[in-house]
């Protein structure tokens, strides 16, 4: 069993942080890599990109939004409880290189994934501007950590309850206008990554995105996580999870993410009924 050593509720309890005892994975994991977690015997295998690792302490940190039955079960795990199975680190680490000026754009829980990547890009000597966004102030996560991990931080909320009102793409447009940017990294909801990539393409700025398709094994065996990159089928688990944002077929990815939407809605509703009769 992989014990939870720290648990935090963020974004009004819709986003949960788990720091988990997993020494072998903590020792090996690099920014950009993910793990697959399974809560219990009957649980589903859920891939999550790591938000942090502590090799000394032997822990990894994941941050997830509660959206369905599986994440609702995760949410119920307290400090001292654990996950039955965690597999990793999986996927290719982020390619880290000094390129000059970098802009990192994060939305929703994508900010959690962006955090270690931002920090690492700064550590290798890049000047890092960060833009993070959420629907409203309450849903914003890791603001202080992102501030520490970058040189400059801009915050946007869709409803204007905090920071700049509007989408991250609007703030990004300003950054691209005013600076000579060599690399953009965008991690968040698929539509956000799609529009960020569209924008950076206009400015001819290389863009890396981290994709989150549905997965089963995470080792290239099942082909469930296939994504179209420049017209070629690739597996996000072994070829990714990071890809050239300008080559991704986002519409196909969005459709594939909906494969079990109806079943999951029903299952989540049943689960909630059993939990709160």
């Amino acid at each position: 069993m992989f014990k939870i050593v720290r648990r935090e509720e963020m974004a009004e309890g819709t986003v949960i942080l788990n720091e988990i005892d997993a020494p072998l994975i903590a020792k090996k994991a690099k920014p950009g890599q993910f793990v697959i977690l399974k809560a219990n015997e009957t649980g589903e295998r859920i891939p999550l990109t790591m938000a942090d690792t502590d090799p000394q302490k032997g822990t990894i940190t994941v941050i997830y939004m509660v959206v369905g039955k599986s994440t609702a079960i995760f949410k119920d795990l307290a400090v001292g409880d654990g996950y039955m199975d965690i597999i990793g680190p999986l996927g290719k680490p982020t390619h880290l290189e000094k390129v000059g000026n970098v802009v990192c754009v994060g939305g929703g829980t994508g900010v959690a994934v962006l955090h270690p990547i931002t920090r690492a890009l700064k550590e290798v000597g890049n000047h890092v501007t960060c833009i993070i966004g959420a629907r409203s102030k309450e849903l914003l996560i890791l603001e202080d950590q992102m501030k520490a991990a970058s040189h400059e931080l801009q915050v946007c909320t869709d409803d204007g309850s905090y920071g700049r009102k509007g989408f991250v793409t609007e703030a990004l447009k300003d950054v691209l206008e005013k600076n000579d940017i060599q690399l953009a990294v965008a991690i968040g909801p698929v539509p956000m990554m799609k529009f960020v990539s569209k924008l950076t393409k206009e400015y001819n700025v290389k863009t890396v995105v981290s994709l989150n398709p549905i997965m089963v094994d995470g080792t290239g065996m099942c082909g469930c996580c296939r994504v179209s990159i420049g017209g070629q089928t690739q597996f996000a688990c072994v070829d990714g999870p990071e890809f050239d944002g300008h080559q991704v077929d986002y519409d196909e990815l969005m459709q594939r993410l909906q494969a079990y939407a109806e079943q999951e809605k029903q299952c989540y509703a049943d689960h909630q009924c059993r939990m709160n009769p």
Partner: protein, 470 residues
């Protein structure tokens, strides 16, 4: 009990009782029910106890077949299992999934004039009897040698290596990437053909022998091959399987509802999606299902679809019935259950609806031309034969390639042009010192028993190495 010599040939092959097709097509319970004690002892009498038994030569792991059959005939069932264990640590598995008709039973002398001795059914009988009634007695083990062996992959080849080497006194650890051991036996082969309970019992037998199992360990990611040596392992066996699904490369292949057989079967078997929502992993339950390909995996997928509630389950294969690679028994079982076969038919395109879900498949009829590189006659499209089939689920079961996860992260491991590991056929040795490989990652997709045969060869070679050097 034993009958006189002359009477032996009069007994006909004892039939295997099975669940009726119309019942079993809707449940996941095992199809063959197993021989009764009486039937097994009677069947055992049919063996001629040949002086030069060709069945042993036909078995990739050389089980003493006449030896264990004689013990069944005498009612010594526990001894029969121990006799099999001398060469095969997984009899309950092999008795169920080996292609006996082309191996031991295919060369059985009794089969020259009539039906061969039901060797597979007898093997299964002995193993099941031991499982249900045995005292859990273990085979004898050699003294500890102090040598450590890492086995990567807990499928048929890995378990064979582990079982052989632990009996020879070595300290064996098996690394498995999934959360459960068994490899293809648990993620690939469906419950109705190989109950998972049986695999777990066989794995438990390994553990009782002293084999350590490390699940959730992806060698190549969690730990590298070279790190295993740094950690003090003296030898490593790679039995990681083929495990990279092949797709067809035709339009519409990424529509929702189009699965690789690996994904479909893993969801259903390992993750128990057939018990959703009791188990949390969902699966698409098609009403109108097409499976592409005609190997054993395709049969498993098409039959699983029926059990998940399909009204129509079709196998679409671009060659003719003669070229079908699946075991005859599997094809027969599928047909009995109502799977429809469309031969000389190939897909060209998948059609989706506005939500990106598959709703149909376009295809062409085929003719067979000259043999191709595989030795099978090459399918040639028939002009003007375009057709369309409705479907809401497609399973692609056209084979697997070599998974590069481990091989790409390892220096000095020689691969062939398809990415499979190069290993000496007579020893299983790879180009890297102290590393052996066997099973599908060397040969490409094959059978459980061939993987076990490769495991046996490698285990012998590893033992020699640990005793005498490279």
């Amino acid at each position: 009990m034993a009958q006189q010599e002359g009477k032996k040939e009069k007994i006909s092959r004892q039939p295997m009782p099975e669940q009726a097709p119309e019942v079993r097509r809707r449940n996941f319970d095992e199809v063959p029910l197993g021989l009764s004690t009486e039937a097994a002892m009677k069947e055992a009498q049919r063996c001629l106890q040949c002086k030069k038994p060709s069945c042993i030569e036909g078995c990739p792991v050389s089980i003493d077949i006449p030896g264990f059959i004689k013990l069944i005939e005498e009612g010594e069932f526990t001894k029969a299992t121990r006799k099999i264990w001398e060469r095969n640590a997984l009899p309950a598995v092999c008795g169920r999934v080996c292609p006996q008709e082309s191996q031991c039973e295919g060369v059985c002398i009794v089969g020259k004039k009539g039906e061969p001795v039901a060797i597979g059914n007898l093997e299964r009988f002995a193993a099941d009897y031991e499982r249900k009634h045995g005292k859990g007695e273990l085979p004898p083990k050699a003294k500890p040698t102090g040598k450590k062996v890492a086995v990567v992959g807990s499928g048929p080849s890995g378990l064979t290596v582990a079982g052989d080497l632990v009996l020879k006194g070595h300290d064996v650890t098996v690394f498995e990437a999934f959360h459960r051991p068994g490899g293809v036996l648990v993620y690939g082969i469906p419950e109705f053909r190989l109950p998972k309970e049986i695999v777990f019992q066989e794995v438990n037998f390994m553990e009782r022998l002293g084999v350590r199992l490390e699940c959730n360990a992806v060698v190549g990611r969690t730990v590298s091959l070279d790190e295993l040596f740094e950690e003090g392992y003296d030898a490593v066996f790679l039995g990681v399987g083929a495990g990279l699904p092949r797709f067809l490369g035709i339009p519409g292949e990424n529509l929702i509802g189009i699965f690789s057989a690996n994904e479909y079967l893993t969801r259903s078997n390992l993750m128990k999606a057939y018990r959703y929502p009791e188990y949390d992993t969902p699966i698409i339950k098609g009403k109108n299902v097409i499976t592409l390909g005609a190997g054993n995996v395709a049969m498993d997928a098409a039959r699983t679809a029926l059990r998940l509630g399909a009204d129509v389950s079709r196998i679409v294969y671009r060659r003719s019935r003669q070229e079908v690679p699946a075991r005859a028994a599997e094809v027969h079982h599928a047909e009995e259950e109502g799977v429809e076969f469309h031969f000389l038919t190939a897909p060209t395109k998948f059609i989706g609806d506005e939500k990106g879900r598959v709703v149909g498949m376009e295809g062409l009829k085929m003719d067979l031309g000259e043999p191709d590189a595989s030795g099978r006659r090459r399918p040639v499209p028939v002009e003007g034969s375009e057709f369309e089939l409705e479907c809401d689920l497609v399973i692609i079961a056209v084979g697997a390639g070599a998974n590069p996860l481990l091989t790409q992260s390892t220096e000095g491991l020689q691969l062939n042009k398809w990415g499979y590991i190069t290993a000496e056929p007579e020893t299983g040795k790879t180009s890297k010192k102290g590393v052996w490989a066997g099973g599908d990652i060397v040969t490409g997709s094959a059978t459980v028993i061939l993987a076990m045969g490769a495991g046996r060869i490698a285990a012998d070679s590893i033992h020699t190495y640990l005793t005498w050097g490279w």
